[in-house]
């Protein structure tokens, strides 16, 4: 019998606050089979009376043994994300199932340039791709759309100059004084200025809220990018 995916116990080993409402949880997951950048996991929480709730999150780190990192944004008054962002402590245990999803993944041996477009916490699976790039000579460009500088995930890491990775911040509401771009939603000019031209046939990964992904994918095809090269991951209505 081939084994189907089963739930594994994950223990929190470290917590990093990314913004006032988001944090990265580092788990130790014995038996973790490894993952590809872009894959996600299902998280299950169980209360002492047996009630349980499940949500799906993208993995934030590159493949690293039995270590799995998730970055969780608190969403409204849901029952899972407030727990993960405010209650969970180092040493606590939850259950994880995965990795799942073989479509929205970057395989480090692929050679075309890579264009990453993230909206809000859509940066998470794209960060896993950046972190997996390692010494690969595939050039990366990241367009990171966020409301204001206070919403930035992975600030320290993204600000360090990474050879071969160019990062452009697209602030939608408030930009820092030196931004050089008026705040606003992603537009064709951003893709021309900071993306790859369609002739270079980049592998494109777009992740974010459904409306953001829709807009970015339309702009990309409008500029002549091959729809077959654009992979998307929409959050849809997240249940919190």
């Amino acid at each position: 019998m081939i084994k189907r995916l089963t739930w594994r116990v994950a223990t929190v080993t470290e917590i990093r606050q990314e913004t006032p409402t988001a944090r990265t949880l580092v788990f130790d997951v014995p038996g973790w089979p490894g993952h590809l950048p872009g894959q996600h996991v299902d998280v299950k929480l169980t209360a002492d009376d047996g009630y349980s709730a499940q949500r799906s999150y993208s993995v934030a780190n590159g493949d690293d043994g039995e270590r799995v990192e998730l970055t969780v944004q608190r969403v409204g008054d849901g029952e899972v994300s407030p727990y993960l962002t405010e209650v969970l402590e180092v040493g606590d245990q939850i259950e994880l199932r995965g990795p799942v999803g073989g479509w929205f993944v970057w395989r480090p041996h692929s050679s075309p340039p890579v264009l990453l477009i993230g909206g809000g916490s859509g940066i998470v699976p794209l960060m896993a791709m950046i972190r997996s790039r390692g010494k690969s000579d595939t050039p990366f460009r990241l367009l990171y759309s966020l409301r204001d500088p206070g919403q930035l995930f992975y600030a320290g890491e993204l600000e360090k100059v990474m050879a071969g990775v160019e990062v452009a911040y697209l602030y939608t509401r408030t930009a820092p004084p030196d931004a050089g771009r008026a705040p606003g939603r992603i537009r064709a000019a951003d893709l021309i200025a900071y993306g790859w031209p369609p002739e270079t046939a980049p592998d494109v990964f777009v992740c974010g809220p459904t409306g953001f992904v829709e807009a970015a994918a339309d702009l990309l095809t409008g500029l002549g990018h091959d729809p077959a090269k654009i992979k998307t991951e929409r959050f849809g209505p997240t249940g919190g």
């Binding site: 739930w7 169980t46 209360a47 047996g50 009630y51 029952e79 606590d92 245990q93």
Partner: protein
């Protein structure tokens, strides 16, 4: 049961005799969708009832508004476990719509804009148990909640209250609808917790 997550409570579990087994109470009005939200302009809106004997009854929006109205206040129970008490609607009773319909049919299939269907015994639509409603809480019914008009059958789980309803087909044989063919219970009585096939 899996391992217990320390201090995880999840949503509150309620105990209220008005609450069917396994349900919890909400105060907002959750929206669940199985497809894009249809937009139906009122000048093209129509409601129809047809019978296996070949009769078809149709109402335009204007004709529909001219029918006697009722304002039921009912509790809603969704199969996804939320219940909402005391919701106020305005619409037309199925008893009024069925008044001139002559048929030996025993089953009904409600069908909607966007392709949704749901089945129920005809008797569950009669005797003050079901309405076609077009106002919620004093306002015209929003598209997300099934506007311009939806079926309301509050004694069954809410998936039976088809949103964006376009018509009701009377049938001699039961014809399972969208969720009823996809694993959900054929009848869906919340008090007997008939959620899935086999419950």
């Amino acid at each position: 049961m899996g391992i217990i997550s320390r201090a995880f409570q999840g949503r509150p579990r309620d105990h209220d005799e008005k609450l069917p087994p396994g349900q919890y109470l909400v105060h907002d009005f959750p929206v669940l969708s199985a497809g894009p939200t249809p937009r139906v302009p009122l000048d093209r809106w129509e409601f129809a009832i047809d019978t296996p004997e070949g009769e078809v009854h149709r109402w335009s929006w204007e004709e529909f508004q001219a029918l006697p109205q009722e304002t039921p206040t009912v509790d809603l129970h969704c199969v996804t476990k939320w219940s909402k008490f005391g919701t106020e609607w305005k619409g037309v009773s199925l008893d009024v719509l069925m008044e001139d319909v002559e048929s030996a049919a025993e089953y009904a299939l409600a069908y909607s804009h966007g392709g949704y269907t749901t089945n129920l015994p005809l008797e569950d639509l009669l005797d003050g148990k079901a309405w076609i409603v077009y106002e919620f809480d004093g306002e015209e019914l929003a598209p997300a909640h099934g506007g311009p008009a939806r079926l309301l059958v509050p004694h069954l789980y809410l998936w039976k209250s088809a949103k964006w309803v376009k018509g009701i087909r009377l049938l001699n044989e039961d014809w399972p609808g969208f969720w009823e063919t996809a694993g959900y219970h054929n009848y869906g009585d919340p008090w007997r917790e008939q959620r899935y096939q086999g419950d």
